[in-house]
């Protein structure tokens, strides 16, 4: 068996190693800054000024992060951010899921232009959108409330919510829905008992999108609020003048809740009941 041409096998192995390397590189691209921010947020202030900077967590202290969290407005704005994130998530789901279902199941006049129009709403810069909205909310009396930011973020998230969930509804076979009807469901029951559970991964994906979008959105939130800032808006305004250590603490506080949320939603995302939905 000496005359076997092993070149393709070697090429195959080399490619697999290259893929592993690429995976590691991409992971490092995301993980290294996260690690550095975390280390800096939990380091003593003195160790941050030292040169050369230690890359290992040597001088651990909760002093910086403690003082950051204790400073005025941070905890309140963290609460605001959570309220706005989940509020936008709930609102965009309630409005977006029926729209997505209609797009997926029914043929209607103007369906294609409707889908295009949905994307156009994202073409407007948030600044352009926010100033007239601020005017509107002032008149309506909800300026500087979490409701105002929830409305803005839900509107920003709706196109993705609708398009993501619509594509999942398309993949739920009509047969299954019809089976539910024949076996005694009203249309609403068929949706609740059969279609919605099957579409859950898509709805989860859309909600991750919405939450992260809302968590990171800073421009609109800054324009629409004065005192009830969300965390990014608060951090942006207050940390500009803060010492370096507090900026790291702010970055850490911004990243961690979003990561936790994604970690929780991830299990709903792809794998359910031992199978990926077709």
């Amino acid at each position: 068996m000496t005359d076997v041409d092993r070149t393709p096998l070697r090429r195959h192995r080399r490619n697999r190693i290259l893929i592993q390397v690429a995976c590691l590189a991409i992971t490092a691209f995301v993980a290294v800054p996260l690690y550095l921010v975390t280390v800096a947020a939990f380091a003593t202030r003195a160790s941050l000024d030292r040169f050369p900077l230690s890359l290992l967590p040597t001088d651990l202290s909760t002093e910086t992060i403690g003082r950051f969290l204790a400073s005025t407005g941070i905890l309140a704005s963290l609460g605001n951010s959570l309220i706005v994130g989940f509020g936008a998530l709930v609102l965009s789901t309630i409005v977006g899921v029926p729209a997505a279902y209609a797009l997926a199941r029914f043929a209607f006049r103007g369906k294609d232009s409707y889908q295009l129009f949905l994307l156009f709403t994202r073409a407007l810069p948030i600044v352009v959108l926010s100033v007239p909205l601020a005017q509107l909310f002032l008149t309506a009396g909800i300026y500087d409330t979490t409701y105002a930011v929830i409305l803005l973020h839900a509107a920003l998230a709706l196109p993705t919510t609708i398009l993501i969930t619509a594509s999942v509804f398309v993949s739920v076979p009509v047969d299954v829905e019809e089976a539910a009807r024949v076996f005694g469901c009203t249309p609403a029951q068929a949706f609740r008992h059969v279609v919605a559970p099957m579409a859950l991964p898509g709805i989860a994906a859309a909600s991750i999108f919405t939450f992260v979008l809302s968590w990171n959105e800073v421009l609109g939130a800054s324009i629409l609020t004065l005192n009830r800032r969300t965390l990014p808006a608060q951090v942006l305004t207050s940390l500009n003048e803060s010492p370096l250590a507090f900026r790291f603490a702010g970055g850490f506080a911004l990243v961690v809740p979003a990561l936790l949320f994604i970690a929780v939603m991830r299990r709903w995302l792809t794998n359910m009941w031992g199978t990926t939905i077709r």
Binding site: V176, E178, A179, R181, F183, G184, T186, V194, W273, T275
Partner: protein, 350 residues
Amino acid sequence: MAEISIEGLVKTYPGGTERATDDVSLDIADGEFMVLLGPSGCGKTTLLRMLAGLELPDAGKITIGGRDVTYQPPQDRNLSMVFQSYAVFPHRTVRDNIGFGLVMRKTPAKAVAEKVDWAAELLELGPYLDRYPAKLSGGQRQRVAVARAIVMDADVLLMDEPLSNLDALLRLSFRADLKKIVQDLGTTTVYVTHDQGEALSLGDRVAVMRSGRIVQLGDPLAVYDHPADRFVGGFLGSPPMNFLPATVADGQLAVAGHRRAAPAHLPDGDLLVGIRAEHIGIGTDGIEALVEVVEPTGAAVLLTTRVDTEVLKVSAPPTFRARPGDTVRLDLAPDALRYYDAETQLALEQ
């Protein structure tokens, strides 16, 4: 359990120009197994879906057990259905799939459990009750779909090509199982298929459909023996019925150059003669034919022969040997000859 009456059902799909069902009327007796047979696009599935309430007719009337259900929603018709794609719920265990309809009907949990166990035993699903459908084979999923349908004690059982996604061996064995289960249940059943073998083996009666109309309705063997027109003869049976041009003159019937006494009811002129492959004998006398293909099937040898320009399928005994290019003499059994009008292709009545 109930009888079904369909009167003048018309349905045209939005955007379509041809009628999917064109003024179809059909009465199905209580407990009868009715097969709707036809090529794809003949309207058989549309008819079934209108029975189920998944499509609404443009005109006509459907009554089940004397109750007008024409425009009733599916959940109010008390029927159950087996889908071609099985349509089992992937997010529910086999147990919850089978019990789904009963739970929706708010049946007490104990009664649901009993029914599910009964159906699971009947369909040999006992070991799989707590699995999810993704962990089952296609045949097992099909059994779940049937179990889910039979626990309902519905008035009518609808089946939309339930065997078409199974592999050939499984299809044959499950066909017999299905026939036994439905016989024991005694439920009125409407079964849609494009497979003529299923239609012949399962149905109490067969309705052969084409272009939205029922072209022949009757006992499967009667339909097989006496096709009402050339289409039915060509669709039913494997191989399909052979058709040869023939002429009648002076009380003599001439088929491919051979003359015999014509039956008295045939008018003079051109006509078509139909004959099944198994009714053609191979002998020393008769129509000369050229063998083109020889296909041993085990139980018989199927010959494709050519007589002038016409192709004739002949079923020869399994011991028969021939090679392509051989010449054989074919003997058409007189009793098995069927006569069709050359123009309309309809059977010429006795």
